[in-house]
Symmetry: C2
Subunit: 235 residues, 2 copies
């Protein structure tokens, strides 16, 4: 893979390179673009090199390997999270909910990257800013430090898990046809509740409803724990 000879100035020194010099940052941005455009499986060192018009092996000079590339990808996605302004006067519940929706929106901006993001701990250096903000809301809500810690994780895992399943569901709808529509042709005596629920749950309920239901429940449960130091806070 040859590159055009660099332009040479009067004194024989290159004036400006035909392409920008490679850098970790440029590589990560190109990788994220590639993933956004063609999906996670399309991210190979070779295709990435091609998209940067560079020998694939040049990447290894800036990034140790593919694992590190995935790490950088996660960092980039998480870095895009911008939590809304604290919104004075609103309750901790509402602020937490807003923050969770901002988190969700940031993740949905790069749906193809979700599997890599979800396979990593929620509290990473790249995602410290949102964690800081959420911890503030939780402490304000009356949780102990240990509880606030756990609560951030719980919210993160719920959101990541929900989104991961959702986009996977969107991506391969043939799997959907094979796995979910068969529900209605099931032995009714063996699965009475499944039948009852499928028949009575209105069809208009979709991902947005499920997400909000779960998030509300989780946040309500978390905040209702405020003050109590014991783990199981139910009567």
């Amino acid at each position: 893979m040859k590159r055009s000879r660099p332009v040479v100035g009067e004194r024989g020194r290159p004036v400006r390179r035909a392409t920008l010099p490679l850098s970790r940052d440029r590589i990560v941005r190109a990788a994220l673009e590639l993933v956004d455009r063609e999906g996670l499986p399309a991210l190979s060192m070779r295709k990435l090199g091609a998209s940067l018009r560079v020998d694939p092996m040049a990447i290894y000079y800036h990034v140790p390997g593919k694992a590190a590339l995935y790490d950088a990808l996660v960092e980039a996605v998480m870095g895009e999270i911008s939590l809304p302004a604290p919104g004075a006067g609103t309750s901790p519940f509402e602020r937490l909910k807003e923050a969770a929706y901002a988190y969700k929106a940031a993740l949905l901006a790069h749906p193809n990257a979700l599997p890599v993001v979800a396979a990593r701990p929620v509290r990473t250096v790249g995602a410290l800013r949102p964690v800081e903000v959420m911890l503030g809301f939780l402490l304000e809500g009356g949780l102990s430090p240990a509880q606030a810690f756990a609560a951030v994780d719980a919210c993160g895992h719920f959101i990541l898990g929900s989104l991961q399943a959702y986009v996977a569901h969107l991506t391969n709808s043939e799997v959907h046809a094979h796995e979910e529509l068969q529900l209605e042709s099931l032995p009714r005596e063996e699965f009475p509740h499944v039948h009852e629920v499928v028949e009575n749950a209105a069809e208009e309920y979709g991902f947005e409803y499920w997400f909000e239901f779960g998030l509300d429940a989780l946040l309500r449960g978390i905040l209702s724990n405020a003050g109590k130091e014991s783990i199981a806070g139910h009567e």
Copy 2:
């Protein structure tokens, strides 16, 4: 890759094959063993063929491709979930909690398979039995069908998300050293809550504490929604 000639009986018909005939079931079991033993990346059609002492391409006769193999893997893991006996006399909260722990235990039996399991919707044909049981508990707890639906998803996503992050954390502890221990060398004025929480949250709190905290909160929040048809059930 040659196989020893089959043993031939008196009439020239094979009496018993040197190896069992290949079948979808045997393939899936071998795949799960391979993943358990050597990790998810080690699962290749070629290694799987070798472990079955069969030409790798023989697998394609029984399983359409690798995607279908992953599907079957998820099905197998989910099929091992055995929820505890309903336990008469206990509250819906306690039953749901027990079920969630059984779910968690089944998933932890094959930690290496978690990424594939998590990248799939929670309600699949293979996992219908546990879904049926949990729906029962939730309806009994007073939830509407639509709410019960959403609640099953929420629990599943929380559990899967938590476990996925947990085992990823266990698998590569060098990432941990790189990403989490640096927390303490952070600008204190920029991350006051992170510092407060890290310093005051006792070290003995680990995954088990976080998991139980999140699960309790989620279940409490879900059950406190009973009866109300509106989504946001907080005062």
